[in-house]
């Protein structure tokens, strides 16, 4: 029997600091994944973390993983340099339900590091723009220093009908807005049957969804990507449960109508 805990080794070829404490690792090799899926990455002697690929889906020679220094394990990982290896298994979970949104308007909302699972999705949407309705993109960051993938965003800005990036505080010239992400949503005209893809820290879900619900958007069309500290990633260890759902197996993307009653348990 093949163990589900078998890893493939990838070499780091490039490392850049894209935001304070946040590093982007480029790895040589191909990883087949759908936007929104996650991988489990093991570092011998250190531990294992859950990461989300943020490079384009159809990139053949490399893929990219982004790590923010937040705890003991990620602290050690951020010390890795090109030439070191990562051991990857996955991808796991279900990606963004792009198939359900054909011919419809799409709104992407990202908060801070939540932009990572939305980057490969964004790339797909731009590439197959003809198959979708209007595409809206709203992103929020702490300060202009925290804005990740700024060059990519500026490129997408030209191709997407409605594109806003906001920062909470700014101390320099800034090309985007200066407000909270909820204000961005409030100031956007949205049709009620739009599909919403939301990702960010969990604390921002409820305020954002409240604004969306005020705009009469169906909670069945609000897709939220959850983040949990996973151990096995394949539905055994029970660390990532929300009520009766397991984020690794049933998610990480849930519709708001499905997950909201479980969040209270």
């Amino acid at each position: 029997m093949n163990s589900p805990f078998s890893y493939r080794e990838y070499k780091i070829t490039n490392k850049t600091e894209v935001a304070p404490d946040t590093f982007l690792f480029r790895l040589r090799g191909k990883l087949k994944f759908d936007p929104g899926q996650f991988v489990q990455v093991k570092f011998p002697h250190i531990g294992e973390v859950t990461l989300v690929p943020c490079s384009k889906k159809d990139e053949k020679t490399y893929f990219e993983l982004c790590v923010r220094r937040a705890g003991n394990t990620t602290e050690k990982i951020s010390e890795k340099v090109p030439g070191d290896s990562m051991f990857v298994r996955g991808p796991y979970g279900h990606g963004w339900p792009i198939g359900k949104t054909l011919e419809k308007d799409i709104l992407l909302i990202s908060g801070g590091i939540g932009i990572i699972p939305l980057m490969p999705l964004m790339d797909e949407l731009v590439k197959y723009r003809g198959n979708f309705g209007k595409i809206y993109f709203l992103a929020g960051f702490k300060t202009p220093h925290h804005v990740m993938f700024e060059q990519d965003l500026l490129r997408y800005k030209k191709k997407i009908s409605y594109f806003k990036v906001a920062v909470e505080k700014t101390d320099r010239d800034w090309w985007g807005e200066n407000c909270m992400i909820t204000d961005l949503i409030k100031n956007t005209n949205l049709s009620p049957n739009i599909n919403v893809f939301l990702c960010g820290p969990e604390i921002m879900f409820r305020p954002c969804v409240d604004v969306l619900l005020q705009k009469k958007i169906n909670p069945k069309n609000i897709y939220v990507s959850f983040e949990r500290r996973m151990e096995c990633g394949i539905g055994f260890c029970q660390h990532c449960t929300i009520g009766k759902y397991k984020v690794c197996e049933d998610g990480p993307i849930f519709t708001w109508s499905k997950i909201a009653p479980e969040l209270e348990k």
Binding site: S3, S6, K42, E48, F236, C237, Q238, G243, K244, E264
Partner: protein, 310 residues
């Protein structure tokens, strides 16, 4: 097929299975669940133990992705444990962390229910799932084979089958029946029974003893085991959902900050998320330092449900 056995036949069975399997059961000497090397040290009938079979099946500190080519025989355990083993290997199938059913030999025995156990709640007193079942009779033992593997072993004793023998039903002190579906529905509605959950949680120390002795608690963590020679291996560590760090995410944010949340999660996992991870063995009742009794708790949940229906 049923066979009539004498004492020396049990020793014969032991020597047959000892060739192929590592034998685990309750030791006469230490009264503990452990590896049995000599036939005379094994308790054949009513082998109840504080530690559940998961101690061997799903070992703590087990190294991940190491081939499991162990063949294990469990001897003398009651039927609730047989049921628990089936549940556990089913839940963790495809994980590579537990052996296949084909690599296990389950020799169950007649048991005497005590004050704590309540297998009748869930119907796990059903006499099935075993390879061989042994019960005592006036002059020796009756053995029944449940599978081809069990039959093969009994055949080696070269005895004639005795078709007049019958499996005796387990005799319970009282016969409470619970509707599983009803319990699932009631536990799901946490908000309605906040008082009850708070009351239980106020008495609970959150020590996690129940999760350690439960034959069906399998939450685990994955850890890197660093050796002195510089090598390292990933291994699993048993975890308890009563631990504070269990639901922690980044920046030390805890998603189940209070004991009541963690306690509810335990019941939710057992009866709602992946029903039913309880076989009524009663180990958690004996292990609980706060004398919490899952049997009474389930009964009172059912009673509250009846009240709220009225």
């Amino acid at each position: 097929m049923p066979y009539r056995l004498k004492d020396h036949h049990l020793n014969h069975i032991f020597s047959i299975i000892n060739k192929y399997y590592e034998i685990y059961g309750v030791s006469k000497k230490s009264k503990k669940f452990s590896r049995i090397e000599i036939a005379s040290d094994l308790i054949w009938i009513n082998g109840r133990s504080q530690m559940p079979p998961k101690k061997v099946l799903f070992e703590d500190q087990q190294i991940i992705s190491e081939d499991l080519n162990k063949k294990i025989a469990f001897v003398g355990m009651p039927l609730c444990d047989v049921s628990a083993i089936h549940h556990l290997i089913y839940k963790l199938r495809d994980s590579g962390l537990v052996p296949d059913r084909d690599d296990l030999l389950l020799i169950a025995s007649e048991c005497k229910p005590d004050d704590a156990c309540f297998c009748e709640f869930f119907g796990t007193d059903k006499r099935s799932g075993f390879d061989i079942y042994i019960q005592k009779n006036s002059s020796g033992y009756d053995a029944f084979s449940g599978t081809a593997a069990g039959e093969k072993i009994l055949k080696k004793l070269a005895l004639m089958p005795d078709h007049k023998l019958n499996l005796r039903p387990v005799t319970h002190k009282s016969l409470n029946k619970l509707s599983k579906e009803e319990i699932t529905k009631l536990i799901e509605k946490r908000g309605q029974f906040d008082d009850l959950w708070n009351k239980i949680a106020n008495n609970c120390f959150g020590c996690g003893a129940c999760t350690a002795v439960c034959p069906l608690c399998y939450c685990f963590r994955q850890e890197e085991k660093n050796n002195l020679d510089g090598s390292c291996k990933s291994c699993i560590n048993w975890d308890s959902c009563f631990a504070k760090e269990f639901s922690e995410v980044q920046n030390r944010a805890d998603l189940r900050p209070q004991n009541v949340d963690r306690l509810y999660n335990w019941y939710h996992h057992k009866f709602v998320r992946s029903p039913y991870l309880c076989v009524g063995c009663g180990r958690c009742i004996k292990a609980c330092p706060a004398n919490l009794n899952i049997k009474n708790i389930l009964l009172s949940i059912e009673k509250l449900g009846e009240k709220s229906d009225e």
